[in-house]
Amino acid sequence: MADGSVVLSVEDISITYTTQRGIVQAVSNVSFDLHAGETLALIGESGCGKSTIVLGLIGLLPKTGKITTGKVTYRRRDGRLIDVLGLNKEQMRQFLWNECSMVFQGALNSLNPVLKISSMIYDTARAHGMRADEAKKRALSLFEKVRLDPLRVFNSYPHELSGGMRQRVLLATALLLRPQVVIMDEPTTAVDILTQRSIIKVLKQLREELNFSVIFISHDLAVAAEIADTVATMYAGEIIEKGPVSEVFYRPRHAYTLGLLEAAPRLSTGAEELMSIPGSPPDLIDPPKGCKFHMRCRFVTDECKTTKPPLQASSPT
């Protein structure tokens, strides 16, 4: 699916939060490229920094959060490069949704309960200079694509829709202005299994038809296995492993990725032996030296405790 050209390039980004206890190094020196049409899954457990990265990308970090280093470059359709972190408020407002949209977790809370879906669509369109009739046409066609009854949904209030329908509305809304990048933060976490299935299906279809890139954030290895082209595993604010989905799942190089896979139960096998990773993630106010995973790692060596390993390609073994 990926055609090779990079739409979004994240270089060496670090984000901190100021808390009462001290400064939390939430994201440390993260870099990745997102290619056109690619689906990149950022997987990791709670507190690993995956959501913080995207909030940083779209300028919605809370007041206590701060991007300390890094550069984010976005390539527009016309080939112009944009320094995302250098955008002013108004430019960022325009950038959002036109170029990069987002689907959040928790569909119920992502929609303003007092406004109809139509108002939400019109609001979004007006904010970006799209004509109302065009917005409606576009929204209806997108609703159709995500297998919703377009007119009914368009004129509904959020509470009149089921969780799955709302999540599909959000998906469709994200595509309203034809962005090149859609960030999805745990979009299927709060929905039921059958609903999750239908959303995954719809997402796959849309991706094929509209060819946008996706940054998919999840703690659920199974969902990532299903839709990602590339998987990046995050631990304690860092990307500790990144590669094509089959590489990461079948030949994990990092002990943490391996641990996660070993802890995930599967249906298709019979009785199975699972293992959990001992211990818990480190305190990011005072992160450990060396590899941040070393206290929990079963392959730990002395070097791990002092030297931070770089992210590098290793030859397949």
Binding site: S101, G106, S110, L111, N112, P113, T124
Partner: protein, 343 residues
């Protein structure tokens, strides 16, 4: 017919009527349990103030007053109810031949006007400022207004009124107190004229200003906390991510949702508008219903008290029904008759 009986509106109206009846009955007996009765109060006054003998006073009161203290209370109740069914609120006990309805019609508009205007001003201003305080939390406006709101919220309205009179009126001579007393200036022809309306506003200034000061702190603080919790909602972040302009965000997304919890409070406040504030009206000689109620209580004018209580009960019930409707209009989740989602 069946459909009517089951309909929401019908049930609400019936419930309202029952509530009104219950309140009415309760107050009917309660006010008759108060020590003293209209005749005795008047007798005491004649004896204390004019040195009449008890007999003298009693004889005079018996003919002047429309009240027979020896009539059994239940009989009075039945009489009252049967009058009420014919929309007759009875006559004042202490002023024979003055219908209670006429008294209420005379005094109610003033209270509605002053308290209503104050509620409108305090609510809209309080909500706006509260919204701004939360939106720019920690800023100068927030810090200043939070202190202001907390202080003003803690001061009872009559203290505010007294301060206004004694400091601004008497000591600094900023306000011509006497000129502003009352409901309107004598001699100005009532009517839909600029002169009369300006005069009304001028005279309403003191009570309205007091009410606004006494209540605006509460509105500001409630709105602020409500807004803060709304700002934490996901849909605000989402709307921001969609690149919505701040103004739209502030009104349709933050403001409207944050206001929802205030609607119940507003409804209760609206319900109590008719009661007015007796102390404020008395202090400013404002010819409102609350002041008249206090006078009636002092004289134990049962019928007048009863009539005013009834009007208050009706307005509380009606405003609660209206609040339901309003809430439904603002929050589609509770919209009446709205179908539930499939889930």
């Amino acid at each position: 017919m069946r459909k009517l009986i089951r309909s929401y509106t019908f049930r609400t109206v019936v419930q309202g009527l029952i509530t009104i009846w219950a309140v009415m009955t309760f107050t009917f007996f309660l006010i008759r349990l108060m020590p003293g009765n209209p005749a005795q109060i008047k007798i005491d006054e004649y004896v204390d103030r004019y040195g009449m003998s008890e007999d003298q006073a009693r004889q005079q009161v018996a003919t002047l007053f429309n009240y027979d203290p020896d009539q059994p209370v239940f009989e009075q109740y039945v009489d009252y109810l049967s009058d009420l069914v014919r929309f007759d609120l009875g006559r004042s006990l202490t002023s024979t031949e003055t219908p209670v309805a006429e008294q209420i019609l005379r005094f109610l508009p003033w209270t509605l006007f002053s308290v209503g205007l104050a509620l409108l001003v305090a609510f809209s201003l309080g909500v706006l400022v509260g919204l701004a305080m939360a939106y720019w939390r920690g800023g100068l406006l927030d810090n200043v207004m939070t202190v202001f709101a907390s202080v003003i919220y803690a001061i009872p309205d009559y203290i505010i009124a007294l301060l206004l009179i004694m400091v601004a009126g008497v000591q600094l001579k900023l306000i011509p107190v006497g000129e502003l007393y009352g409901g309107s200036t004598q001699g100005i022809e009532p009517g839909f004229t600029v002169e009369y309306i300006l005069d009304l506003l001028k005279h309403a200034f003191l009570p309205v200003f007091t009410y606004v000061l006494a209540t605006i702190g509460g509105w500001m603080l409630t709105m602020k906390s409500s807004t803060i919790s709304t700002l934490g909602e996901d849909y605000i972040t989402v709307a921001r991510a969609r690149g919505l302009p701040e103004r739209r965000l502030l009104t349709a997304y933050v403001g409207r949702n944050a206001m929802l919890p205030l609607m119940t409070r507003l409804a209760i406040s609206i319900g109590f508008v008719v009661g007015g504030s007796a102390i404020i009206e008395t202090l400013f000689l404002y010819p409102g219903l609350g002041r008249n109620l206090v006078l009636a209580i002092g004289l134990r004018d049962y019928t007048t008290m009863q009539g005013i209580f009834l009007v208050i009960a009706i307005s509380v019930v009606v405003s609660n029904i209206l609040a339901d409707l309003l809430y439904g209009w603002l929050d589609p989740r509770v919209r009446l008759g709205g179908d539930k989602g499939t889930e």
